[in-house]
Amino acid sequence: MTAMTVELQPGFADKVLSAQSTFRMVMEAMARPGHVMPVDDGGGRPPSMMAGVAAIALTLLDQDTPLWLDAAFARAPDVGTWLKFHTGAPVVTRPDLAGFALVAASETLPDLTSFALGTPEYPDRSTTLILQVPSLSTGPTFHLRGPGIDGVTSLAATIEPRDLFARLSINEALFPRGIDVILADDQSLVAIPRTTRLSPAGA
């Protein structure tokens, strides 16, 4: 492969079964916020995209899901083509029209209220934010409470932007509207639905 030609990376080797197993990981993650779920590196993906993000995209996106890409993903030459070929998701430029948003770099994450937050009648019509993060196994510890958690659980992770969890506190006042977040690195994913309340350990 030369610098001039970008070869299209493959997607899941077994579309049906990989999508099923990835979905179960995402579902379990959403049902148990803060719980780190493993992701299989199911097949090819653009070099700038971590395995967790790629697997979620292949599992949940299609022509019915308007997709917003942050500037870092939008700039990457192969990401748009790969997503278009494997999912067919229409890319939108307005975050408030997005069913899903893929975010590669913290500095290009806009204000969370610029995404779709749902309406009081249809709170489900909200963006699911999929954020690529440095590590879901080491880093500062956070406490999580809410549905899906037996009392309190903790998550040690390195997350950019560092104030993401503070920014997610908007969910408390917005509920039942709100934004649901899936964090992914190269091996795993963690979900933070809008019902989860977060605080730094020791606070």
Partner: protein, 294 residues
């Protein structure tokens, strides 16, 4: 002629993705009914098409599936749905609550406690708990948006005024995570307490009404009641005639035309498990009265 060919677990991948996205939103907003583009299934509406679509969207080759109707694995509709998935997804099936990873149910929650990692899929005929008070979707949706549930309390209180009790014995409304009033499907209210703080994930599918909703694990589920008329769990006076269980929901079996009847566990797996462990009930027990205890 177009000879039909079908995908793993029957549904096409696009439909599965659509249902999967709805399931994720349902989990993120506990008790809220997510609209989804329910498909026509090869079994009639009202016979579990919502539960079947949810199960088909989550099921994988490593799952072990249990299907019950009225608590039993051997009712015809349970058999029919179990066979459908054994055929279209090739999954292992079981009658054991303990061994199952996915349990599809109609009208009951198993007696054996559920555990983390299990998924209980309910078949739901009318997902809207306010539907019997207000037939219009536009109205009930507004009530949920404003958390305006006064109408439901008025209805329950009118029952008390007329009968001295809340006259709802199944599909008894609950409040989930202190926000949404939710229909638990037509399970007897005996099963309501099992939904509260349950370690398993509970998913609800209503095919004809095109709604999916969920209760995540460890989520507060409170049966609606009043301080002076607290929720009581229906309880039988006598134990199961087959296994002697005193803590299970019982079916009434009419044994002759002279008024003789006996009571046996509705959850057949639970009953058989207890019998296998040596528990015995008074078979052909004398008829007895049942009543309610707090």
């Amino acid at each position: 002629m177009n000879a039909p060919t079908y995908n793993f677990a029957y549904l096409d991948e696009q439909t599965k993705r659509m249902i999967r996205r709805a399931i994720l939103k349902a989990i993120a907003i506990p008790g809220y009914q997510v609209p989804f583009a329910s498909r026509e299934m090869p079994m009639p509406y009202g016979w579990g098409t919502g539960g079947v679509q949810v199960t088909a969207a989550i099921l994988g080759p490593h799952d072990v599936l249990k299907v019950i109707d009225q608590g039993s694995d051997d009712t015809t509709n349970a058999i029919s749905i179990r066979k459908f998935f054994a055929k279209t997804a090739g999954v292992e099936t079981t009658t054991s609550t303990e061994e199952a990873s996915v349990i599809q149910t109609r009208h009951r929650i198993p007696e054996a406690p559920l555990r983390e990692g299990q998924v209980l899929v309910f078949q739901v005929p009318i997902p809207e708990p306010l539907r019997f008070l207000e037939p219009r979707e536009t109205e009930t949706r507004r009530m949920h948006a404003l958390a305006e549930y006064g109408l439901m309390h008025v209805k329950l209180y009118e029952d008390i005024a007329r009968f001295g009790h809340i006259a709802t014995s199944y599909a008894y409304p609950v409040k989930v995570n202190a926000r949404y009033v939710m229909d638990p499907s037509p399970t007897p209210k005996f099963d309501n307490p099992k939904m509260d703080n349950c370690p398993a994930l509970q998913l609800f599918g209503a095919g004809r009404e095109k709604r999916i909703y969920a209760i995540p694990p460890y989520t507060s589920v409170v049966s609606l009641d009043f301080e002076d008329h607290p929720f009581t769990r229906y309880k039988f006076d006598a134990p199961c005639a087959l296994c002697g269980a005193e803590d299970s929901y019982l079916d009434e079996i009419v044994t002759d035309d002279k008024g003789s009847r006996m009571f046996v566990c509705s959850d057949t797996d639970y009953c058989e498990g207890r019998q296998a462990a040596g528990h015995r009930g008074v078979e052909n027990a004398a008829p007895h009265k049942e009543g309610a205890h707090g």
